[in-house]
Amino acid sequence: MSEGLSRRSFLKIASAAGAAAAIPGCEPAGRQIIPYVVPDENMIPGVPSFYATTCTECGAGCGVVARVREGRVIKLEGNPKDPIGQGALCARGQASLQGLYNPDRLAHPFVRGDDGRLRRISWDVATRALIGRLSTAAKAGKDRVAYLARPQGPTLDKIAGLWLSAWNSSKAVFHEPLANSVARQAAQDCFGRGDAPVYHLDQAEALISFGADFIETWESPIELARQYAAFRTPKERRGKLTIGRAAYVGPRMNLTAAKCDDWVGVKPGHEAAIAMSVLYVLVRQGWISPNSGFDIATLKSFVDGYDPDAVSQQTGVPAETIVRLGQMFGQAEGAVALAGTEDKETHVAAYVLNAVTGNLGKTVAFLAGSPPSPLSPQADLDGLIAAMNQKQIEVLVIAGSNPIYAMSPAAKFNDALRQVPFVVWCGLVPDETADKAHLLLPIHHPLEAWRDSAPRAGVSGLGQPVMQPVFESRDLGDVILDSARAAGADSKTVPWQTMADAVNAGFQQLQKQLGDKNKPEDFFAQALRDGGVFADAKAADVKFNPAVFQNKPKPPGAGPDLALAVYPHIFLYDGRGADKPWLQEIPEPVDQIVWDSWAEIHPDTAKALGIAANEMIELQTDQGTVAVSALVSEHVRSGVIAMPLGQGHTSYGRYAKGRGANAFAVLAPGARSAAVKVHATGRKSALVSPLYSEDMMGRNIVEAMSIEDLARGVAPESETVPGPYEMYAPFKYPTHKWGMTIDVNACTGCSACVAACYAENNLAVIGKEGCADGRIMSWMRIERFTPPKEQADKAPLMYITPMLCQQCEHAPCEPVCPVFAAYHTEEGINGQNYNRCVGTRYCENNCPYKVRRFNWYKPEWPAPLHLQLNPDVTVRGAGVMEKCTFCIQRIVSVEIDAKTGDRKLRDSEIVPACAQACPTRAISFGDMNDQQSEMMRRRKDNQLRTYRVFNAEFNTLPAITYLREIYHEKGRA
């Protein structure tokens, strides 16, 4: 960043530029220019500079590259060098920008007076207050200071530990509400090691997921989605063109289930039984890999009592389904079972399944030297709460975690917190916990701070500040280090001055481990450029511990007749995403609901309970009661009520506050399901969805074909355009003709593309009311249709596809525009001139795809959200039509670059935001004139699968060609 530039004047420029961008086309840009005193060499005004760093939104730890313009981050993109994300970035990663620029972020330190009101104070006062309290506490005795946080990278966590010991304490608790720690415990039991394995779905042929929603939120979604796409890509296996066969066992049809061949709806808690039963089939059929070294007898006894019929009686899952799963799993060459439930049995069963089929080390691998779990055992947390209750804790520092919101009422954390005389909250947007804290410290957003990450063996991510702090915040690491020094920690115990030093030191150590011969600073500089150090880790050879077979899981029984299944929201996750408007506004892909939380109920169950759609219902468990409106949908098993986490905040900023209900309030600690009673209140509270119909009405919006047809080489009869019926001589596109190929089979519906589009193109967020009026502004949407029942056998479980402007060559929108605002560019793009548009809205009327968006009001970005606006894209004003432009700003800039460096454009040198973000690389962009471009080759290689939406009906000649979804015809397993 630019040293010469004072933060103040930076903000001035930034806001000037931002303001200029934010005023739509009616006012000239900022009237003043403030030059640097000393120019920054890394930075040319008007040219973006890129900084590699790491994403901290979830545990996966993908690498990101921050695009910075004039000192402000305007976009996050995946880091191609990073082995996990490999250049893709999910919606939550994209949206962390809005965490950085969130208008509700704590701008200064605050202290809570005796009247309970917050008083703004300076950092000096704040630190003095903190240190004063700490020293008194430390003098009072051991373990009087506690630190409760979300894991934030090895270095920071280590520093926290040192700091605590400097204050004569060791109570550091690292807690994640939805941590998948049972998996580690299961691994402990089965293999005697406390880490979670990595998966290679792409090397499998069959897959069964027991409640592991790896496309939405489980473990490392981007990586697993990418692997799954490869797994589902048609390829020769054993001399036969096939795609991987997948089944999902769980209460709700989420994106993962929707992309599988089978969704086996079970009540929560029955997954283990199904898994065991599948194992039973394997054992009985003798589909046990000989070299897996299992003793059949033990296995037999282990699975005894889990024969499909018995299990089907308990779970209501048809026995033949279980048998089918067994066959599919057992006969596959390379199979993988995933477990994502909160009970250990399922995980154990899954490990056994993987083990007996000899897939350990193939599709499921434990890595040598994987880092220890950053999480503290549950016992520590319980211990902390107990200590708090016994008034032993005098200072509690809470950093980046929100226990008040995300803990079960049974944990009684709220009462415990009241016993703590001095609670220090360090974070970004003040949340429910902050409301209870006495001292509120604004700390840096990860994008403003130094940090590192160790998501798995061989991957050490390095995070650097990519811009000047937006608010008067400080780096948490620095705060801690300062107070540690104040405690008198000498340079031996705490050898670093700042967080930056600490991270640097960490990497020097890493260099030693790797035996790298470069100069340390070079090593570090390289790490900075790459966003970390990525070495490949070897798979450890693991021994299965037969002791597991001694304690076989007890049969589940029928379970409660009405069960509540709570799942993390794909965008809001455990609630931390709720303060980001993009994540609130992008529709949840399966249920297409925005700005709210809901309870999914199967139509039959709803009928039985007498619940109408959109009716407020009260869900009562032994933990408590929440009121939420009902969504009657087929995407949940009957007898189960599914509810997403993430909403129901009572604080946490304007975007999160007072929406929906918090499902944590009805869950037992660590549980994700419960027996539930439902009371219909009769009150209506409409859920808002931008989609009208789930039924495609037989129109070719999303097309699919069975792998059998593909193998046979038969394309389903569709688009039968009687030749090119051109009335007029077609236009020529001598230079380029931009086009797109979208592989519907690869698309998981994760909506990363949508988020990327919001970020790149300055799309306005209009809020729940706007969405209810049908005025959502997204240029690209995830279409989701469910096949009609009678066709269920010859269709995928769900039709999912991205729908955006098709850039038609015969664009219906163009000739109807009276003023040439909509017209066709020389490079085959369907252009829209915002400044020429008078707003007749005729184009949207005539657009068969309904992908044009109209600005009903003047869009607004409460400061400092406007700093995120992309200065290369016009901010549209009220009364103007807008639409997807294939990211024309990216095309133009690359073209200018090519022209000035007089060279030819390279293929796939231009990448639109959506294609860049897509985890499965379903979208590819290129030049239709260049037959060799990757995009065109994709079309040619999958000739049978290509189709163009509505082209047969309207002869619009879209520039976007879709590749059909591939499914297995049912009843052929």
Binding site: K850, F854, G879
Partner: protein, 454 residues
């Protein structure tokens, strides 16, 4: 009728009678008249205020939604343009056919045309997202050297409507001149100067009459094809698109017929109260109304046929999109609108087959009102319904009007009625010259009345 009989007796009206009756209308209006004008003006102001707010804060204040980008505003536009048409039909086309009963009513009809077009012309601007740039639809020299796209039906509209407005105003103005001269010679004070300005020194010399007749004839000759073209163009706003429910070749004739239908109904709605209030029963006789009623009946049958035809074509084509759109139009959430429309446009006008209904002003008035409602609904059903049930099932969404839109619509009626009332008060609303020219027909008409009255 009886009252009229006493005043004039069966003795035929003379030139002087005609002058006397028409000039009486031109005398200063009473308190009620001005109260009525203020009443209208109030609603106009309300609409104006709401529109200002809409311009200031954006089209979000309307009920428009993502797929339904056009609704009430465009409906009003088409409705008012349609209203305009019958005026030209009566004044120009029937003039060319030398139809007898036209003379008494054509001035009112022609006036209605001009003001209806004036009203219609507002709506394309009102419905714009950025109305301050409306002039970009017109070709004019500019430094960007950017011009409108003449392929766009909206530009056709712009030309058609402005031409129509100009021509019909000229036509009205021409026809007025002799009558205004007449009024001038009778008037005193500021009215005299006012009329002398408008009459442009008309004195009915042989040269004036000679050129007048030729010019008037040719104008009528131009107006006739123009009126057909204008509503065809308006219909092409829809027919030229690919929206299921719009994309149909039948639209032009179907819209023109509908336009005449609604227009004549509006003529009746205006004439029947007017002749009562202004005491013109002897000039605008049931015979005239009867003929107008027949036109309504005919056009009603035509559009009923069009409805059937439209649906048949859809069924015959078996196009999935069209079928679904029409299914929604008939039986969808807003199907009731369609059936109301059928009742108003196809069923109720059938009453006009009975002669007693045709001569009863009360009945005519009620039926005319129904037809007006029905034709407004027709446009709404076509425009809103087709958009709401478009090609993308996921993007369907039905529209519900907002206060702004409703009051602007009301305002447009107020605006139209105010203009018309003012005109009727200050201008000869019945063409004296033409009545005199065809005075024998008027006499017949009156005799015919007494025969009926007796």
């Amino acid at each position: 009728m009886a009252a009229a009989a006493q005043t004039t007796g069966v003795s035929a009206p003379t030139f002087t009678d005609i002058d006397r009756q028409v000039r009486r209308v031109l005398e200063p209006g009473g308190l009620q008249f001005w109260a009525w004008i203020c009443f209208c003006a109030f609603f106009i102001c309300v609409a104006g205020a709401l529109w200002t707010n809409q311009v200031y804060s954006g089209l979000g204040v309307t009920g428009l939604t993502q797929p339904t980008m056009w609704a009430i505003y465009i409906t009003d536009f088409v409705f008012w343009v349609g209203i305009a048409h019958s005026g030209t039909l009566i004044s120009a086309i029937l003039f060319l056919f030398r139809t007898r009963w036209r003379t008494a009513v054509y001035r009112a009809a022609e006036t209605m045309t001009v003001f209806a077009v004036l009203t219609a012309g507002l709506f394309p601007i009102i419905h714009l997202g950025r109305p301050w740039f409306f002039y970009w639809l017109a070709p004019y020299p500019n430094q960007r050297s950017l011009q409108p796209d003449f392929r766009s039906p909206l530009v056709w509209d712009f030309f058609a409507i402005s031409t129509y407005l100009t021509i019909s105003s000229l036509f009205l103005f021409m026809g007025l001149m002799p009558d205004v001269a007449n009024a001038r010679d009778a008037a005193r004070g500021w009215r005299k100067t006012f009329y002398s300005l408008l009459s442009m020194g008309w004195q009915g010399t042989d040269r004036q009459w000679r050129n007048f007749s030729m010019a008037y004839l040719l104008l009528a000759g131009f107006a006739a094809p123009l009126v057909i073209s204008v509503h065809s163009v308006v219909s092409w706003d829809f027919a030229m698109t690919q929206v299921p429910g719009w994309h149909s070749t039948i639209f032009a004739p179907y819209f023109v017929a509908g336009a005449i239908f609604s227009g004549v109904a509006m003529v009746l709605t205006l004439l029947i109260p007017m002749r009562k209030i202004m005491g013109l029963e002897e000039l605008i006789t049931p015979w005239h109304l009867d003929n107008l009623a027949k036109v309504i009946l005919l056009t009603s049958l035509i559009i009923s046929y069009s409805y059937v035809c439209e649906s048949f074509i859809v069924w015959y084509s078996q196009d999935a999109f069209e079928l679904m759109t029409f299914h929604q139009r008939y039986f969808g959430p807003q199907g009731y609108l369609f059936w109301m429309m059928v009742a108003c446009n196809c069923v109720i006008p059938l009453l006009l087959f009975s002669p007693r209904v045709r001569i009863s002003t009360a009945w005519l008035f009620i039926i005319a009102l129904f037809v007006n409602v029905g034709m407004w609904l027709e446009r709404f059903v076509i425009i809103e319904g087709s958009l709401a049930t478009n090609t993308e099932p996921s993007q369907w969404r039905f529209y519900h009007p907002s206060v702004t839109e409703i009051f602007i619509t009301v305002g447009s009626f107020a605006w139209f009625l105010m203009l018309f009332s003012l005109f009727a008060r200050f201008m000869p609303i019945i063409s004296m010259t033409e009545l005199k020219e065809g005075i024998q027909w008027l006499r017949e008409a009156l005799r015919d009345n007494y025969r009926r009255a007796a």
